[in-house]
Amino acid sequence: MINILLITFGISLIYMGIANRLSTCINVLALQGVLLFGISFIELIEINTLNLIFVLFETIVFKTIIIPLFLKHVIKKNKIVRESEPFIPDFMSVGIITFIMLGSFIFANIIEVANIRKMFFIVAIAALFIGLFLIVSRKKVVTHIMGYLVIENGVFILSLSAGNKMQMLVNTGITLDLFVSVLVLGVFVNRIGNTFEEMNVDNLTNLKD
């Protein structure tokens, strides 16, 4: 069951590479939130109430509801064009993303991850690099935040596969930090929208020597 969820997550990453509309990307992010909840629910067998509430809060409330709604609000408010405007054609994107997946597969085999964890590891590393790829290949500032969220989802899977051994206090701090940083980034997107006509990275090239 976990494997099915993880593979669905991987497919959603590929889909994100070719999704043209921004709202599709946001829906995929929400779907990923649900998938993460499923994975963590099955994974944490000896689940106690506190842990359950924490995971529920992090995946369903933050990743599936609040952040997608917030991003939709940002897009609506700034009248962002709905296209995601990649620098490179979709076909190439899919090719590169597949290549990254293959690469993380080989990487996991080289450094000999324990068998049960291999699936987690591959998906997490792939999400990390696909997130970075989405950031460098998209023009819009909002899509950069989406790339960052994909990286964050990868980190979540990775920390799940490590057995979630961090103490509760630290874990809460980390979640809050990530949440706040997304909000701060969103606020700055709004500012960029107010300052410049179009929210492209082309506007952000004035600082140089």
Binding site: R117, I151, G163, Q167, V170, S181, F188, I192, T195, D209
Partner: protein, 473 residues
């Protein structure tokens, strides 16, 4: 005690945020500085005592707490001057000082955190609070710089987190992992080499965003360019110390494992490339603040080289960071006055500063001695030790290249500073505003420290540094 510190500081910060009266703000800042001084001396008197299992007042943290304490006095003073000259309204000033208090608190917590996860949380907090300060001038340029800084730092810190998780992978699933630095050091001894290497790389790349080292140095430079000068002083000194503390602690947990020669090699090249990059950009730099920022990157490169070459290099690295903090802070405070005098940061439009503002010009001249490590300054001694450590650990290639590119940076820094001080161009901008001599006293004090520490380093500091490096191989 640290718990009470955090709570009281939080209340002072919130009060500063909502207060609009300048006298009450003055009182609040005074209270905060008293609190900060109190926690610093408390930490010094309770050396090596652990609190709540998450914080420990170890000697490395205490050294940088003293530096932070001193610089928070001067930074708040110069921020006050900066804000009153900009005629910012009360609301903007409140936001500025509240963010500044949060930044100082977060940095203090990073210095004393003994748990890698908690240190991570507070480093992220420094990014968010300094972002507010960088954005202070509300121009499109500062928006761009803030966006880049926040984005790169957030990605960097996420990469660090991946490194920490990979480390726990390597340690294994059977044991419950204790993520305090002390416990990690022992647990790492049994870990597979490839896991160690991967997690070390991830952690160093992430922390180098804060320290301004080679792979992720760009964000810090852009942030320097637009931040208010007193904040640039902080980004360049105490915030880079945050990165250094993080890298030092990471280094010391990995230093006892079998990959130590490999991590030394990684750090040496990272430091060397930082020096090369800064030398290349310094040769063509036109903006005074960017020049100082690149100079900071060069010093960070030197520090990491000192750390990686071992022996006396450990000692020299920490000492160098302390002295660099003082000299760079005074440079940036002076840049604020310079900017008020000329109305620009562009070097080619300025000159003849010696006649226009003599007190400030002498600050630049003395700071130049410090930045290029001329003999009477303490930085000469630390750089000498760093090169000695490189020599004794027989890294001759790194040594030669570092010295070569260091001479480029010395040339460009001296050229630009002397241009500012003595050049008599015709198309120079008229004097916008004359500055008071009394504003430079704090800068002279910091500069006096670097010369004094070079000749008579206080034995308390020597003891603290020796204590901090004694566990390294």
């Amino acid at each position: 005690m640290l718990f009470y510190y955090l709570i009281i500081a939080l209340f002072i910060g919130i009060a500063t945020l909502f207060n609009r009266n300048s006298i009450i703000r003055f009182v609040l800042l005074g209270m905060f500085l008293t609190l900060q001084t109190a926690i610093t001396f408390y930490a010094y008197l309770h050396l090596n005592i652990e609190e709540y299992g998450y914080f420990k007042y170890d000697s490395l943290g205490v050294i940088f707490m003293f530096v932070l304490n001193l610089l928070s006095f001067t930074t708040i003073y110069h921020s006050h001057i900066y804000l009153s000259h900009r005629k910012d309204n009360s609301r903007v000033q409140s936001i500025y000082f509240a963010a500044l208090i949060m930044l100082i608190v977060a940095m203090t917590a990073v210095y004393v955190a003994s748990h890698v996860g908690l240190m991570w949380v507070f480093i992220e907090l420094t990014t968010l609070s300094v972002a507010t300060l960088i954005y202070h001038e509300r121009t499109s340029l500062s928006l761009e710089a803030t966006w880049k800084y926040v984005f790169v730092c957030t990605i960097g810190i996420t990469i660090t987190f991946i490194g920490i998780i990979l480390l726990s992978f390597g340690i294994g699933e059977s044991v419950a992992i204790d993520f305090s630095f002390k416990a990690l050091q022992e647990q790492l001894l049994h870990v597979n080499e490839s896991w160690l290497k991967i997690s070390f790389l991830f952690m160093i790349i992430g922390f180098s965003t804060k320290m301004g080292l080679f792979p992720m140095h760009t964000a810090a430079v852009d942030a320097h360019t637009v931040a208010p000068p007193p904040i640039s002083a902080f980004i360049s000194t105490t915030l880079m110390n945050v990165g250094f503390v993080a890298i030092f602690r990471t280094y010391s947990i990995f230093a006892h494992t079998s990959i130590q020669p490999w991590i030394n090699e990684v750090l040496l090249w990272s430091g060397l490339i930082s020096i090369i990059v800064s030398a290349a950009y310094l040769l063509k730099v036109k903006h005074l603040k960017r020049m100082s920022a690149y100079s900071s990157i060069e010093h960070m490169g030197l520090t990491v080289i000192g750390l990686a070459s071992g022996g006396i290099g450990y000692f020299a690295a920490i000492f160098h960071m302390v002295l660099h903090s003082f000299v760079k802070a005074s440079v940036f405070y002076q840049i604020d006055q310079f900017h008020r005098n000329f109305g620009t940061y562009t070097i080619s439009k300025t000159g003849n500063y010696f006649n226009r503002n003599r007190a400030g010009a002498i600050v630049f001249l003395l700071a130049l001695f410090g930045v290029i490590a001329m003999p009477p300054s303490g930085l000469f001694i630390t750089e000498f030790w760093i090169f000695k450590a490189l020599f004794t650990s027989s890294h001759f290639l790194i040594l030669t290249l570092a010295l070569l590119f260091l001479s480029f940076t010395i040339y460009s820094l001296a050229k630009n500073f002397l241009f500012i001080l003595f050049n008599q161009t015709k198309d120079m901008l008229p004097v916008q505003e004359t500055t008071k001599v009394s504003e430079t006293y704090s800068q002279y004090f910091l500069l006096a420290l670097i010369f004094y520490f070079g000749i008579y380093p206080p034995y308390q500091m020597i003891n603290l540094i020796q204590e901090a490096v004694k566990n390294l191989p």
